[in-house]
């Protein structure tokens, strides 16, 4: 169906909720408003929609039904994002009023429960990462990178080399944030290209490191699902130059309990509590990119850190004069931390190990299935098996049929499931990345790969059907001309009404 824009269902005067009136009669609202500077009062009411409560609920209910999510499909098509099951019990625990109604500035004595949970989460990660100090402030993976880059800068400032150490090195198949974010922190970024085997080119790396290098930011396994087996060689080379080593552990799902930040000799890393550790993605946050570091780097960590002492109980430690500062308002996204803590505590050490075992098993199972599909191939085909995900290519399909990864994507929508191409740039031609985390059953993997096989068949045998797709989804072919031209794009309903009348008739 075509659900109207909420403004289209607005009815003048309708209300969905009412607001309390004056608390008592000592002061009237009029009197209070009159005390405000009149120039600063709003003259015209904001043009918000006016909708009664049922109509509001129905509208959003319909919109939600036009969305899928992990609970609605076999959500393995979003590689690098570790789409896994988000346990309902954790939602209920994290949504309890005992947390949701907490003000961040309450005295620590009234917040012992949540502070203890933050602290205990850190204790768990001591073992999971092998590192020593933790901050749950960052609000996502990229924010974790920002925290790391900020720590790097604070460290070099303290060392007196802030201005000299102005370069960061990352790799092509690290997450885009490992490149984009350090730039925001004022760094020049060098990207190491992969060698023929898909590993970051170590010779290029050797050439790139210098006394101007502040830090390296490596994802491992990379977005190709290839584990960089020489990673300790990279950290050794870096450490020889005094360079800080930052490990992007967003792809850690296949390696829990196998090899950790500490085994790879990195100084710092971040973990996505929302991806690997079972908290949901919420259409793109709120999330937590928890930062972990060796104790030597504690002075540079974001403030405050959650600590415990017998006298004070759990408390927020602001006493880090060399800190990189604050990364996020208040203390981070507490509900996400509760969910991750609960997830880990429902699995334990053996369970986490099993998560990774099955993530690897599922991935290699899928890989074999996908590579049997006509038109599909894998990046760096010499490298098999992969860890928890793999980047594939429809290059052959494109050559044979003219259809590429974007066409497959349109078709997938008709099968009620999700598929994503890959992070740009598409160095692997017509790429797609499949990450079948531990949450999916063998049947799920069979079903999903069967969808891909069916679409490939359609590309070869029913090109017209492919061109028409999607036909069964929530929406049909979208005209992409409306997204890049300032005269045509409309980012709000208000802008739409300034540019158009009726259905996209230009004004």
């Amino acid at each position: 169906w075509n659900e109207p824009i909420i403004y289209e269902i607005s009815e003048p005067g309708a209300r969905a909720v009412l607001v309390p009136g004056p608390c008592c009669e000592c002061t009237s609202a009029e009197e209070a408003v009159a005390s405000l500077p009149s120039a600063m009062l709003r003259k015209e009411s904001p043009k918000l929609p006016e909708v009664a409560q049922l109509q509001l609920v129905r509208h959003y209910n319909h919109l939600s039904q036009e969305n899928i999510g992990v609970d609605g499909n076999i959500d393995i098509g979003q590689g690098t994002c570790t789409m896994k099951y988000n346990p309902k019990v954790n939602e209920r625990l994290a949504g309890d009023a005992k947390l949701s109604e907490m003000h961040p500035l309450q005295p620590e004595g009234t917040a012992q429960g949540i502070l203890e949970l933050f602290y205990r989460t850190g204790e768990l990660f001591k073992e999971i990462s092998g590192l020593d100090v933790f901050s749950m402030q960052p609000g996502g993976g990229s924010h974790g990178v920002l925290a790391l880059a900020s720590i790097v800068r604070a460290y070099w400032r303290d060392m007196g080399e802030e201005n000299k150490r102005d370069e960061i090195i990352t790799t092509l198949f690290s997450h885009p944030a490992d490149c984009a974010v350090p730039i925001v922190k004022g760094y020049k970024v060098t990207i190491i290209q992969p060698d023929a085997e898909g590993y970051p080119d170590i010779e290029a790396f050797k050439a790139a490191v210098s006394d101007h290098t502040a830090a390296i930011f490596f994802t491992n396994p990379e977005d190709t699902g290839i584990f960089n087996v020489r990673i300790k060689e990279f950290t050794r080379i870096a450490h020889e130059r005094g360079i800080l080593c930052c490990y992007d552990q967003a792809n850690a799902n296949g390696l829990l309990g196998v090899t950790r930040t500490v085994e790879a000799d990195f100084d710092m890393s971040f973990f996505n509590l929302h991806k690997t550790f079972g908290a949901p993605h919420g259409c793109g946050g709120p999330a937590t990119g928890m930062v972990a570091a060796k104790k030597e780097l504690r002075p540079y960590m974001p403030v405050p850190l959650v600590e415990h002492s017998p006298e004070k109980g759990y408390y927020l430690d602001f006493d880090l004069p060399k800190s990189c500062g604050k990364i996020k308002s208040f203390w981070g996204i507490a509900p996400v931390v509760v969910k991750a803590y609960s997830w880990i505590m429902s699995l334990g050490a053996e369970g986490l190990r099993e998560v990774s075992r099955v993530a690897v098993l599922n991935n290699n199972y899928c890989m074999k299935k996908i590579l049997a599909i006509r038109g599909a191939s894998i990046s760096f085909p010499n490298h098999r098996p992969r860890v928890e995900q793999a980047r594939y290519s429809w290059q052959k399909l494109k050559e044979d049929t003219g259809f590429g990864t974007a066409d497959v994507q349109r078709c997938v929508a008709d099968f009620g499931t999700h598929y994503w191409s890959s992070h740009e740039p598409w160095v692997i031609p017509e790429p797609f990345t499949i990450e079948p985390s531990e949450s999916y059953s063998k049947q799920d993997l069979d079903d999903y790969t069967a969808v891909l096989a069916e679409i490939a068949r359609m590309c070869y045998e029913e090109p017209e059907a492919v061109r028409r797709a999607p036909v069964n989804s929530t929406v049909h072919h979208i005209d992409h001309d409306y997204f890049d031209d300032p005269a045509k794009y409309a980012i709000t309903w208000r802008a739409y009404n300034k540019k158009y009348k009726g259905y996209f008739e230009p004004r």
Partner: protein, 461 residues
Amino acid sequence: MSKKVYPYIPNSEASVQAEMLKFIGVDSIEELIADIPEDMRMKRAMKLPEPFCDEAGLARHVGAMLGKNKTARELVCFLGAGCYNRYVPAVVDEVAGRSEFLTAYAGEPYEDHGRFQAMFEYQSMMAELLDMDVCNVPSYDGGQAVGTALRMAARIARRKKALVPRNVNPDTLAVLRTYLQPDVEITYVDYNSKTGRICLDSLKEKLTEEVAAVLVMNPNFFGIIEEKAQEIADMAHAKGALMVAYVEPSTLGLLAPPSQYGADIACGDIQALGLHMNYGGGVAGFIATKDEPRFVDEYPSRLFGIAPTSEKEWGFGDVLWERTSFANRDGAKEFVGTHAALWGIAAGVYLAAMGPQGMRELGEAVVQRLGCLKKALSGVKGLSFDRFSGTPFQEAVADFSESGRTVAEINEKLLERGILGGYDLGKDFPELEGCMLIAVTEQTSADDIKALASALDEILA
């Protein structure tokens, strides 16, 4: 075989694993990661506490831990300072809790149409509230939003300096500083020690041709309306700088939107628009501007636009995708990532539920209560609201310095009486030692205010 089966890991079942391994053509899962060198292996099993495999046990464990909290619902809350104890209508939780939104991620327009539309509607409603034409998909929080707003201004003005008044929220400022450093340099503008508002003289002095933007927080951290905002904007514009307004959006049913006093970029945090406080986790940032390429081109955030479809439906997609770090890793405007989309959907539901009338009434409810509070506390000995002459909106500076008690002491005694006292300003503003920032919300009742008044009477007696 008695191997444990995990509810969240369907293929933890041994016979399924055997079948899959056979299909792959290996004998063990270990073989699949055999390339990881021995010297990189963890040498022992992880040591973690015994897990709660049964859900009942987990729920009891975590429930008991969180049970140690005392919440703002159990206590009477007068804390604000950037996080407000707003009533969250049940419809907001209902929508945000729908698993289709909760468990989705980066879905594409063709199959996650609902997310795109909900976010487009959020952007649309925020734009109306702010009287702007463009609003972004939420960023992390107000701190990052103002950081980005100032970086956008720096890129637009091609200058490197930002003027930041000293009466902004110190928590926001801390985030801002990290975010701007080292590219954009902050110069501080004093506040007027009588009014509590930005000191125009200080501003004039600092406002050079190198300044990219002047920041105004409105209401400012002391809760006071910056009524000279237009004058400040005019001063900034005269020097070729932009005016960036950090506004509390929940005030805008009643207060003038920033566009109407000359702001070029509006930013802030949507926590007070129907997000639970969540111990500070209910935050998300917004940035709004006019619909001009010089602004739109500079957003790092995703911006969802509307487009026609082959069947004349409403279609959606990313506007100017190439700006983003998803598209363009080393040539992007700042960066984008997983921020706070679900909170945006929730705030959209809140705004749609409140409507124009509700937002106005919310503002009225708040100013009325603050008026009532000041009246009720007017008789408390040793307490004065005269520290600043500027007009407060939803929170006000209570000066206890006459009482001879520290704010910490007073708050401790209030807590004994079940009251969360206001924010101790002396921590961040040494000149305001003895001052407390007291906030009300529409949830503050006459009884709450009476309780505070009589508690203070007792404590200061």
